[in-house]
């Protein structure tokens, strides 16, 4: 019973967080993709969508995998602790991916501006 409570809480929070962060990155990342590929707005849109799809697959995949390695829970403290630890892992993975993406975009933009000069 404790495990069920943990799974339900975890899934609700994780799916909400993943969808919300993905939406934010999609919305605000459009400017960057448009700057990298300025000549074709249709292609920009598609590339941005594919990036979003890859992001969803990766994160929801990890989110569901975490359930398969969940420990047995005995009391309320265990429930809170395990839910929060798994949330922490997935949030840290999201953060690492986010910073990595921003770094890659920065490098691409820098190279592009160098070739333009």
């Amino acid at each position: 019973m404790n495990n069920l409570i943990a799974y339900i809480t975890y899934l609700i929070v994780v799916v909400t967080a993943i969808l919300y962060v993905g939406h934010l990155c999609y919305k605000y990342g459009h400017v960057y993709v448009a700057q990298i590929i300025p000549e074709d707005p249709q292609l920009t849109h598609q590339v941005n969508k594919i990036l979003l799809a890859g992001y969803y697959l990766l994160n929801i995949g990890y989110g569901i995998y975490a359930i398969s390695i969940w420990d047995r829970l005995h009391n309320l403290a265990d429930v809170i602790e395990s839910v929060m630890t798994h949330l922490a892992y997935i949030t840290l993975i999201l953060a690492a991916m986010h910073y990595f993406n921003m770094l890659v975009i920065n490098i691409i933009l820098k190279q592009k501006s160098k070739t333009n000069i």
């Binding site: 990342g29 960057y32 809170i80 602790e81 630890t85 892992y89 949030t91 840290l92 999201l94 921003m102």
Partner: protein, 149 residues
């Protein structure tokens, strides 16, 4: 009943780290927009996007770290309020120090970006001026036909 003090600890710790992160992030990125406008030479759309993306990263990193630190292990816990307060103060103090370091790190990024964009702007201004001088030099070097005749 024996783990109830740990649960109390969790319920004190969680709201504190969430509100701390929220307030620090709000302060940082409300003022960060001015820096971003300076960095991107006043281009509103990309400055806004960058600011927002940095904000998302800041939230993810700090909330992730705060939740990761949450666990109070029951083996070293002797079920007194004194012990609970000691453990909580260690955790919350550590988290606030971490948050302060992250805040200064982000501010350093802002200042560095601003300095860099200033340098590149000055270079482009110098380049433009040199180009203009070369353009205006051209007539001086040419022989002036009106004086000779």
């Amino acid at each position: 009943m024996e783990t109830s003090k740990i649960v109390i600890g969790y319920f004190i710790y969680l709201p504190i780290i969430l509100t701390l992160t929220f307030f620090v992030s709000r302060t940082l990125f409300k003022n960060g927009k001015i820096f971003m406008l300076d960095i991107f030479h006043g281009r509103e759309d990309i400055a806004n996007s960058t600011n927002k993306l940095f904000e998302v990263g800041f939230y993810l990193l700090n909330i992730g770290f705060g939740l990761w630190m949450l666990k109070i292990s029951s083996s070293g816990f002797n079920e007194t309020y004194q012990n609970l307060i000691e453990i909580l103060s260690t955790k919350i103090g550590g988290f606030s120090i971490y948050l302060g370091v992250m805040l200064f790190f982000n501010m350093m990024l802002f200042f560095r970006g601003r300095k860099r964009s200033k340098v590149s702007r000055q270079q482009s201004v110098i380049r433009d001026r040199m180009f203009e001088q070369q353009q205006t030099k051209q007539p001086y070097n040419q022989p002036r036909p009106t004086q000779g005749s």
